[in-house]
């Protein structure tokens, strides 16, 4: 008889607990999605119901906007911040510390604070825009159909760009100094250094961070739910919130489970494609 490798033996208890913790909800969701409230098997009925709901495709496009908008600005802003924080200037330590604050603030606190800041009548944003006359009248940031989703995205960007900045900064600090010196002797300007040295060197970090950001954005509930609950008129209803409301507001647990399963599959496909194309081409480039 072959003995189990000792390493596996030691890891086994932890693996079993982990498996139970992950597998149980997944399996249970799967079961819920093909049964009704009384536990009777219903086949694909829940899936058909949830897919035919008008809200579902709507939420899906919203999710795409939400994820795409968040990621692009988080990555650009975070990388730019990292490059700036990597320069030598007096008080750099303090600025670096301040820059992480948004990431450290609890999501619900941030959401509430931003809700107030965006408030049409009492919000500081409108106050600052109308005060010096930049705008004639206050904007209903959270009620205007054109601004509510961008406002949500802005909050999400604000919340997470420090994370990107920290990760990229760590990557930047591991770039050997003499690469920049060689580039300077070769005649590179700051922008050329950034383009030809810095960005290629932090590419692996950017790829990993972007993947995390995509996953987090796909699963996001806190900010939007705390501020708009998906409204107005479902304009900020993204799929995770639709699932949440389906389950915990309408108590349609079976339909919520069906939507979860669909969403899970789509998310997996997106992540798999991402890893396949970006991460692996990054490997070749190494």
């Amino acid at each position: 008889m072959r003995r189990l490798p000792t390493g596996l033996l030691f890891a086994l208890p932890a693996l079993i607990v982990l498996l139970a913790l992950i597998a149980y909800p997944v399996v249970y969701t799967g079961i819920l999605s093909v049964t009704d409230g009384s536990g009777a098997f219903t086949g694909t009925e829940n899936f058909r119901d949830v897919l035919s709901a008008r809200m579902t495709p709507r939420a899906f496009t919203n999710t795409l906007w939400w994820v795409g908008g968040s990621i692009i600005f988080q990555v650009i802003l975070g990388t730019a911040a990292a490059i700036l924080l990597n320069q030598e200037f007096p008080g750099r330590g303090i600025v670096r510390a301040i820059a992480v604050i948004p990431w450290v603030v609890p999501g619900i606190v941030a959401a509430t604070t931003w809700a107030w800041m965006f408030h049409t009548e009492f919000g500081i944003i409108n106050y600052m825009l109308t005060g010096p006359g930049l705008m004639d009248e206050p904007v209903g940031w959270l009620t205007n159909p054109d601004t509510v989703m961008p406002a949500m995205i802005a909050i999400n960007v604000w919340k997470l760009f420090p994370f990107v900045a920290i990760m990229v900064l760590a990557g930047l600090q591991s770039i050997p100094k003499d690469l920049y010196e060689a580039a300077r002797v070769d005649g590179a300007s700051f922008w050329e250094e950034t383009r030809y040295i810095t960005l290629p060197q932090v590419r692996p970090v950017l790829i990993a961070v972007t993947l995390l950001l995509v996953i987090w954005a796909l699963n996001h509930v806190t900010t939007i739910y705390a501020i708009t609950k998906g409204g107005p008129a479902n304009l900020t209803l993204i799929t995770p919130i639709q699932i949440f409301r389906l389950g915990f507001e309408s108590f349609q647990f079976n339909q919520a489970a069906a939507l979860s399963v669909i969403f899970f599959v789509i998310a997996m496909v997106i992540v798999a494609l991402y890893i396949r194309f970006l991460a692996s081409s990054g490997e070749v480039a190494r």
Partner: protein
């Protein structure tokens, strides 16, 4: 024109001065080696020529033009770094062509010059590789290729061979030398290895503690070291130094043994240092008694450490020495090859 003039150059980091007024004149096409112990400021001086380090005071000129306030790319120099500093995400060809790309040279021109450099350095078959896929010696060559492609007035090298194994080091040494002979480009080369300095340089600049100790051809420095530092730094094994005084045209060591100075040392002096290179100790009758401490055969030579005149000295002999520790040899310092130094200032004493 690739002349380099370093005039009264000082460098301070905050209040700490690390270069204390350095003067060096380098002629067009010359191969000059900066050599000195670790921390003496060689790299700092080289980096100041390159424009990677501010010049605190003094001036540096390249080709007759003061470059103090010019950016590196405007100085018409190229530099090879100790770590090679190759761009890891670029191929060998891209690495070599990068400066031309930044200078907006057109693509055909770029390819032509990269191909030319690759041919000179034997890198043709490696052009599509990345630095990570190269051996140390190949990386070294790519780093040189990157410099050659730019066709600068001056090449700067900062210890380019220190990451290579001993054999490759010797090989690259002669390759660099051959390259210099072929291109005739002015070269400033930093090393802390005096053998490298001796074998490669047209002229050597010996630095110590942020100062220039002596400038001269390798054999100048070897035959006529200006002071005790240069005397002991250049040459391997290092020159033996005996303490004593001069009296009656003879050197009297601390324990009373006498050395004939061969007509030198007319003036009486109380406190001097006598320098004898290991190969200038001649075994044979009529010498000073030297009790053997260790015998190290290197094959071509035998190095013997012995107690002579109350001090340990090293002798290097072409002939094989059969003595054992404890035996007494008779060693005679070669009178024509003796060096005298003032014990207080360390400066060379002429006859």
């Amino acid at each position: 024109m690739g002349t380099v003039t370093i005039d009264q150059v000082r460098k301070a980091y905050g209040t700490l001065e690390v270069l204390h007024g350095v003067n060096v004149n380098i002629a067009d096409g010359e191969f000059v080696v900066l050599v000195g112990p670790s921390g003496c400021g060689k790299s700092t001086l080289l980096r100041m020529i390159a424009g990677l380090e501010e010049i605190t005071s003094g001036t540096i000129s390249v080709g007759g033009r003061v470059v103090n306030d010019l950016r590196p790319k405007e100085r018409d120099i190229a530099m090879v770094f100790q770590s090679y500093a190759l761009y890891p995400h670029m191929t060998v060809a891209e690495n070599m062509g990068f400066s031309l790309k930044l200078a907006r040279a057109d693509k055909a021109e770029r390819q032509r010059r990269v191909a030319e450099a690759a041919r000179i350095l034997g890198l043709e078959s490696l052009l599509d590789r990345r630095p990570g896929q190269l051996s140390g010696g190949q990386r070294q060559r790519v780093a040189m290729g990157r410099s050659i492609v730019r066709d600068p007035a001056v090449f700067l090298f900062d210890e380019p061979l220190s990451n290579l194994d001993a054999k490759l080091r010797v090989q690259m040494r002669s390759e660099i030398k051959a390259l210099h002979q072929r291109l005739g480009t002015t070269t400033v080369y930093v090393t802390h290895d005096q053998i490298e300095a001796m074998t490669m340089a047209d002229r050597i600049v010996v630095m110590h503690g942020g100062r220039v100790e002596q400038i001269g051809t390798p054999l100048d420095l070897y035959d006529r070291p200006a002071n005790i530092f240069v005397a002991t730094f250049i040459g391997s094994p290092a020159m033996n130094i005996l303490e004593g005084r001069i009296s009656g045209g003879r050197f009297i060591a601390a324990d009373g043994s006498e050395v004939d100075l061969g007509g030198r040392g007319a003036t009486e002096r109380g406190h001097v240092l006598l320098g004898v290179r290991p190969e200038h100790l001649v075994p044979g009758p009529g010498g000073l008694p030297a009790q053997i401490i260790t015998v190290e055969p290197t094959g071509s030579e035998t190095h013997v450490t012995a107690r002579l005149g109350g001090q340990d000295v090293v002798g290097a002999f072409r002939e094989r020495i059969t003595g054992r520790p404890g035996d007494v040899l008779s060693l005679r310092p070669h009178p024509a090859a003796l060096h005298l130094f003032d014990a207080d200032t360390g400066e060379r004493l002429e006859a």
